[in-house]
């Protein structure tokens, strides 16, 4: 297309030059004059292209210019529309950020959909609690729906060693299977093994990436060294990779050991999480845990009467999960603000705009060129405006 256009216009120049040459003008001079007479080749091509397809762009620009004039003419309305649109868009964006951030939180997990949490629920007052260590031990031994069940507790600790001043950190005390249940892996060293949670086992600790980076200057030799966590010397066995930490935004992980206080069945301070077994649905895991809890209630009525267990998606750990419907309601409401803003704009200008579009997109087959139609379009729109005003 482009080549043809070029060839055609060049032919035009050369043919004219030949005519000139025939009338006695020297050949070079003729070509020069022909070029001058024709003007810029590129500009001519530009105009030809316009005639083909870009007319539509021209029309849209004209339409926009007209809208702009209308907006300037009605500053009050324009301000109202702009504010409504700004509020609508702003609120929508804010809501979207919140909903997106809260509901698509992936916990740094690749398999978020398969990871669940288990709560104890007191049916007498539907209060949700964590689980006790003895309950956890029984659940873990008996569950078939889960590929793994782990328990943890978050506590603040002091970390001290020879490399820097003691610092206050968050520490997750977690059953030894915690990292493997959610199929994570340390980037350095190893994670916990069953041996680490045996009472009397040598104390160990795992570091979060940022602790390793900031406190230990990314020293790979940290693995195997001993640091003190709340004055207990612990050997560093691994460093977790950067990114979101699991199950909480913690700094350290140490094994969760059952002690005398934790051996009480009604000390429900532990959070439980697990991974659904292959092909197991959330509903069937829920049913299984309800049955397991019933069994415990029958076996230990003193502590477990009225206590049942509920299995929910990992999202519930944030608490945000419960207000999910509220999020969507807000999201929808704010979407309507935007819709209304758009609606108002349409109602005010739709009538006029339709005529402008009509004028602009009439088939170009009539013999008026752009400038003529521009006048026609403008006048039509002005007329309709006057009609509105009357």
């Amino acid at each position: 297309m482009e080549r043809e256009m070029d060839a055609e216009l060049r032919f035009r120049i050369e043919a004219f030059a030949e005519d000139l040459a025939r009338s006695g003008v020297p050949r070079d001079e003729a070509l020069r004059r022909a070029r001058i007479e024709f003007g810029g080749l590129e500009r001519a091509k530009e105009e030809c292209r316009d005639a083909l397809a870009l007319r539509i762009v021209d029309h849209v620009v004209r339409d926009l210019r007209f809208s702009l004039r209308l907006l300037i003419k009605n500053p009050g309305f324009t301000a109202a529309a702009v504010i409504a649109l700004a509020l609508g868009i702003g609120a929508d964006t804010a809501m979207y950020s919140i909903v997106n951030g809260a509901l698509s939180w992936d916990f740094g997990l690749d398999n978020r959909d398969r990871v669940i949490i288990v709560n104890s629920v007191n049916t007498a007052h539907t209060q949700e609690w964590g689980a006790s260590y003895p309950d956890f031990r029984d659940f873990r031994a008996e569950t078939k729906a889960l590929a793994g069940l782990a328990a943890y507790e978050l506590t603040p600790v002091n970390l001290s060693d020879h490399s820097a001043l003691p610092e206050r950190y968050y520490c997750v005390q977690m059953s030894a299977n915690g990292v493997s249940v959610v199929q994570q892996k340390p980037m350095l060293g190893r994670d916990f093994i069953a041996e680490d949670e045996r009472p009397g086992a040598p104390p160990v600790v795992m570091l979060a990436y940022h602790v390793w980076r900031d406190r230990y200057a990314q020293d790979p030799a940290i693995v195997g060294k001993t640091v003190r966590v709340d004055e207990v010397p612990r050997m560093v066995i691994g460093v977790m990779p950067p990114g979101r930490r699991f199950p909480e935004e913690t700094d350290l992980w140490i094994p969760l050991l059952p002690d005398a206080a934790r051996e009480r069945r009604n000390a429900r301070g532990l959070m439980l999480f697990g991974r659904l077994g292959a092909g197991v649905s959330l509903a069937s895991a829920r049913a299984e845990f309800r049955a397991l809890a019933q069994g415990l209630a029958a076996q230990y009525p003193d502590t477990n009467k009225d206590i049942t267990a509920d299995v929910g998606p990992i999202m519930e750990i944030t608490g945000l999960y419960y207000i999910k419907p509220l999020f969507f309601a807000l999201f929808g409401a704010i979407g309507f603000v935007l819709l209304i803003a758009c609606g108002v704009e349409r109602r005010r200008f739709g009538h006029v705009r339709q005529q402008v579009w009509f004028a602009a997109f009439q088939p170009a087959s009539d013999f008026s060129d752009g400038s003529v139609r521009r006048v026609v379009g403008g006048r039509r729109a002005d007329d309709s405006q006057r009609d509105e005003a009357l």
Partner: protein, 113 residues
């Protein structure tokens, strides 16, 4: 009436259709033919001829094919299509009516009004 007249806006397309209706022409030929028929009394703006040709072709009123010019060069020849023929008829009719009306107005005398 020595000086060249500028083409009335909106009439170029009609004149191109007319020129092409007399036989296939390349773009430069269209220009020459219009000037020739008008005895050089009409000036056709350089910048408007080719865009008009492209526009008319795009609208399906004329069609083009590459051929050989009188002096053995490759040139793009335009030919009138059926739709263009109809268009030319209606536009010519419109133009003649318009010319009559305007002439009538211009010739009117105080007595007639």
């Amino acid at each position: 009436m020595d000086r060249q007249l500028e083409l009335l806006q909106g009439t170029l397309d009609m004149l191109i259709l007319k020129a092409v209706s007399l036989g296939p022409l390349h773009g430069y030929g269209v220009l020459l033919r219009i000037q020739q028929i008008s005895k050089d009394r009409l000036e056709i703006q350089q910048g408007s001829l080719y865009p008009a040709l492209y526009r008319l072709e795009h609208q399906g009123l004329i069609t083009s094919e590459w051929g050989e010019s009188e002096n053995k060069r490759k040139a793009k020849y335009y030919r009138l299509k059926a739709a263009g023929k109809r268009k030319l008829q209606t536009e010519a009719e419109k133009w003649n009516r318009m010319a009559d009306v305007i002439a009538g107005i211009l010739q009117s005398t105080p007595e007639e009004v």
